[in-house]
């Protein structure tokens, strides 16, 4: 596995004086959409600041696609970071904000104009691009920052709470944009509290709590590792009572609950693999018509609840 196409944290710790930012983080983030999930103060922003050089690790090393974070010239040609600081240089219009950032990158005037327009178009702000940013709504400010971070076509896009302040429409558009960027092969790293929305687009998840990474990997894989919480599977079928009675006799099934509409059964099992084999057998034997079988807690939200607890506001 080469580190040249991954974001790698090796034993990284960051302390702000006596306050812990993150501790002993070892991560290797591949391309695709990765969600950073954790309660406030868990170290998500610190991790993002570390991977973009805005903060320096107290110990350990970080590389982004094989590049050192101490080399901004190389790094920021390939990285775009949309921070959660809701602040802008004074007096700029949305267009100037994006354009100036492109000029700083050494991009020629004509190309800078073209790329600025393209990025602003992509976040649907072109109509107000020539208005001062100070007059923008919170959602518009969020989107213009997003435009600034994608304008130079980065290969790594780091987004700190990118859905904050967006209305449902803009939120859906942004999520679609992140998904598209992820599919284009970008590394998209998102921290968000809107778990059910990032859940839809995330390829990987990094769960954080009190500065520690407590789980990382594909959501399904992480869920399988969480043995202490039985897996929940919803089965919609023609004879739920019969299915429930057959399933309940098995040791690995700890609960089988009939759905309130009488059309399904929610099963909690300690061994998902064994359960699916059993289900196949029962369906064939009892001639039950299956409508749907879907994991009910194989998502970021459930992982958050299981690994971090309900204390964190989601």
């Amino acid at each position: 596995m080469t580190t040249n196409n991954r974001i790698v944290f090796e034993n990284v710790s960051k302390f702000y004086g006596e306050v812990l930012g993150v501790n002993r983080v070892n991560l290797s983030v591949p391309s695709g959409v990765t969600s950073l999930v954790g309660p406030n103060g868990s170290g998500k922003t610190t991790l993002m600041n570390l991977m973009t050089g805005l903060a320096r690790p107290t110990q350990g090393s970080i590389s982004v696609l094989g590049l050192s974070v101490d080399d901004p010239e190389e790094l920021f040609r390939r990285v775009g970071y949309c921070t959660q600081f809701d602040s802008f240089p004074k007096g700029v219009t949305g267009y100037e904000f994006v354009y100036q950032s492109l000029k700083l990158r050494g991009i020629a005037t004509n190309d800078a104009h073209r790329l600025a327009k393209e990025a602003i178009d992509r976040v649907n702000l072109w109509e107000v691009a020539h208005r001062k940013v100070a007059g923008y709504s919170k959602g518009m400010r969020q989107r213009i920052r997003l435009a600034q971070s994608i304008a130079h076509h980065p290969t790594v896009l780091v987004l700190d709470e990118p859905l904050n302040g967006l209305d449902p429409m803009a939120r859906a558009e942004s999520i679609a944009l992140f998904e598209a960027l992820g599919k284009e092969g970008l590394h998209v790293i998102i921290s968000s509290h809107v778990l059910h929305e990032v859940d839809k687009i995330s390829d990987q998840v990094v769960l954080m709590s009190y500065g520690y990474v407590i789980a990382e990997g594909e959501i399904h894989g992480v869920r399988n590792e969480v043995k202490e919480h039985p897996m929940q599977i919803l089965v919609r079928c023609s004879q739920p009572n019969l299915l429930a009675s057959r399933l309940f006799s098995q040791d690995h099934v700890v609960e089988a609950k009939l759905n309130h509409d009488g059309q399904g059964v929610l099963v909690r099992t300690l061994d998902a693999g064994e359960f699916y084999l059993l289900l196949n057998r029962v369906v064939l034997e009892e001639d039950i018509a299956l409508e749907a079988v879907a994991p009910a807690d194989d998502d970021v939200n459930s992982l958050y609840q299981y690994l971090i607890g309900g204390g964190g506001k989601v």
Partner: protein
């Protein structure tokens, strides 16, 4: 039919008296200030001249020590109104630096973090907020100006005989009056400038500008236009003029050039104008509103 349980109750316990609530603002400002180690050290350094003054008094009144040190006290080293005037003038400037370090941060942070709205939406008026902040500066400046001044006066009266205290009784009034004049001008002006610019660093720069740059401008004014009236822009000068009057210092031996002085009325008028402009600025700018400029 919906049933709503009324479980929420407003606080109906005892309240502190309304007149004392400005103390909350002052208390938190104090605790923030003294969290800074540098500020605490600087505050302690402000008392160094006072300790030197005490040592001076001791040496002057102890022939044994004088003999040991091999010094003979001439009349120039005597403790009199001029001595108090100069010592407290130096203390006043120490207090000025202390207030410059304290005031801008005390106010501008409330603006920067939109805390003023929070303060004023409590039963706390703008005046009470202002009194709370001024009381912080007043306490700091009192601690380094008139309070040690009075203590030194008491010590000197104790050590001196032949009715020194009676002859110099007016100094008690001079010490208190000069101290409070300094407090009034400094606190009003610094708060007004801090509220006006709302940025700690700029406010500190502006305060220093008023006290150091304006005297330069005043002297340039005098030199170019061949006049003496430029000194009305020189706040330290006019305050020093008043200071020497309060301490009944003979103009021939004071700090300020005896010739070409401004008349006293103009010095008082300048100070009054500065205080009024500061009060007006405070009234205009100390409001709980947020302005976003596009």
């Amino acid at each position: 039919m919906a049933v709503y349980k009324r479980t929420y109750k407003t606080y109906d316990g005892p309240l502190t008296p309304a007149w004392s609530r400005f103390g909350v603002v002052a208390r938190y400002s104090f605790s923030t200030l003294f969290k800074s180690r540098i500020f605490t050290i600087f505050t302690m350094l402000c008392f160094v001249p006072v300790f030197f003054a005490i040592a001076w008094m001791y040496v002057i009144h102890s022939p044994l020590v004088q003999q040991m040190l091999g010094v003979r006290m001439g009349s120039a080293l005597q403790i009199n109104n001029q001595w108090f005037s100069q010592l407290l003038w130096a203390q006043a400037w120490m207090g000025f630096m202390l207030a410059t370090a304290a005031t801008p941060g005390m106010v501008s942070r409330d603006f920067a973090n939109h805390a003023l709205q929070l303060y004023l939406c409590r039963p706390l008026s703008r005046l009470e907020y202002l009194v709370g902040k001024i009381s912080v500066i007043a306490v700091l400046l009192s601690a380094v100006t008139w309070i040690p001044g009075l203590l030194l006066f008491a010590l000197q009266a104790q050590l001196e005989s032949h009715g020194w205290a009676w002859d110099h009784l007016y100094l008690i009034g001079s010490i208190v009056l000069s101290g409070w004049l300094w407090i009034a001008v400094i606190s009003l002006l610094m708060l007004a400038l801090s509220v006006w610019v709302k940025w700690r660093i700029a406010a500190t720069g502006l305060i220093l500008g008023v006290f150091f740059l304006m005297p330069g401008f005043a002297e340039a004014f005098n030199a170019i236009l061949r006049t003496k009236w430029g000194r009305v822009f020189n706040l330290p000068y006019v305050l020093n003029l008043i200071w020497e009057q309060i301490y009944r210092v003979d103009p021939r031996f004071g700090h300020i050039n005896y010739i070409n002085r401004l008349p006293m009325w103009s010095a008082w008028a300048t100070v009054l104008t500065v205080c009024l402009i500061s009060a007006w600025l405070l009234n205009q700018k100390l409001k709980a509103r947020e302005v976003e400029r596009g």
